[in-house]
Every structure is written in C-alpha cells, then in structure tokens.
Assembly symmetry: C2
Homo-oligomer: 166 residues x 2
Amino acid sequence: MSSVRDDFLTANAEFASKFEDGSLPLPPARHALVLACMDARLHVEKVLGIKNGACHCVRNAGGRASDDALRSIVISQRLLGTKEVHIVHHTDCGMLTFTNEQLAARIKADLGVELPPGRDFLPFPDLDQSVRDDIATVRGSPLVAPGTQVYGYVYEVETGRIREVK
Amino acid sequence: MSSVRDDFLTANAEFASKFEDGSLPLPPARHALVLACMDARLHVEKVLGIKNGACHCVRNAGGRASDDALRSIVISQRLLGTKEVHIVHHTDCGMLTFTNEQLAARIKADLGVELPPGRDFLPFPDLDQSVRDDIATVRGSPLVAPGTQVYGYVYEVETGRIREVK
C-alpha cells in the first residue's frame, strides 16, 4: 500500500477537522480560470493568493492550451460563468528538456509502444514564447467566448516570483 | 485591466517576499501524481497536505483520465520518475449537471458554433463510478508503466473530507 495514500488520508483528516468552507457555491467567485503547469513546485493557489472557491484551476504538463484544456475552459465559461483565463508557465520546466522524437524513443524503449509519427506531447524550446502561443490559442478558439480576457505569466521556481508575459 | 490579475501580482509579491524553496529539484519528491478536478473549492495541495515539490498535480474539468491527462502522466513517469497516480473527483461537481447534447446546444446558442456529433466533454452521471472508470483508464493505458499504483478518492466539498473509492 502506498505511503502517499496513507499520508493523504492522515493529512486530510486534520484538514477536515478544521474545515469551515462547506457552503461555498459551485461557480468560481472571481469568474476566472487559471491554466498552469503540473509542476510539483507550483502550488498555484498559494503562489497567486487564490482563496477557496475563487478560481477554476486547470493543470497539465506545461500548462498548455491543449484541446483538453479548451474542453475545461468551455465548461468553465458556458456552465459556470468564468470570463478570464490566466496562463502560468514556469522556469526549469520539464517541457524545455525534450523533443517529441526523444520522448517517443523513450516510450518505445521503456514500454515497447511504437507511437504514430507526429504524436505531439507539447514540449517547447522557449518559455516566454510558449506563454504567448497559448494565449493566442485560447484567444483564437471559436469555443472561447469573444472578449475573454487572457493573461500570461512566468513563475520563477528559484525566487517565487511571477512576471507577466505579453 | 483585470482586478484578478492585479490581485495575483499583489499576492505573489507577498508570497515571494517569504519564499524559501528556491532549490527544490524538478522531479517530485514523493514520486506521485495527483489527477483532480479543476473545481474552485478543491485546493488540492491543501486538502491532501502535499508539500512543495512533492507531487505533480494535473487538473481538468472532472479530474478525468482524458488523453491529455495521459500525456501528462506519460511525461511525469518517463521523464520525472513518478510511480503512482491518485485520482480525486468531488461532490457537487459540475460534470454531474449536463449531457454532451445539452452542452453542444448551449455552445451553438451562445457562440454560434456547431460541433460534430459525438464530441465528448466527459460529463458523468455517477460520481463513484466516474472514479472507477478513470482508475481503469489509467491502469489500462499502454502508455502508463506496468505496475503503476492507481488510487481513487471522492472529496466532499461540504465537509472537507476525502474518502477512498475502490
């Protein structure tokens, strides 16, 4: 049995014993969605000072505006009233360290699975440009509401600071 | 200009002024990945007591094991050494409130976009079953390492408690 599971259950019992937010509504109070990387050093709500119930938080490898991130944004906007998207990538990101070809070769070597050519794991060679690319993807999607405000940031894992990318 | 953006920058300046974790390594210390819903009331690291640098955190609408979540899991396992997946869905989830047909009709009415039939936004009618389905999807993927430990939970937004789903 996983020690991580045991630690989650123990820590959650402590968390629940002091819980006072049981009547928060489903729609995010700040009408905003954050799209950020899954990195273990990026505790999004803490880094950005987000209160419980305030913002949707979508995370994946890289914080990319993938098709699935757009699925989440559509549900967030159409059903739960969010009107802003804030994209957060970060320094020392794993997505800067590989190419699709390298990862496909690794998967074949480790798992024996041969991927079809062109399978895109969404790595990027330039951090600021990756933020700009994802801002453009969100702004350009016909499934995102016209007029949606889209902001981009880089989080510095070395300093704890975010800086805006335009 | 968004007041959310301004609040993020202000809160982050305070966060960064007390930041002491600047030398954490990229690979997650607990070798685990959490896959959870984007819900605004589910601050994953706080609810589960996750320390900075400990676990990858992937989030999307529903906390579903989508193709993009599998992309993140592959990168997490192959490049950054995680060996466990912990899936967290929650009570009062928006994914329990709609069907694909209803959302497609809403998108057409609001945005004028006609989606191809069968576009799946991954809603679910049964919370515990959705966790079991996603456990099975992760376990069954040829891109996930054999022997990966996969756990599932439901978070109760009313009480702050998690309970395991098997």
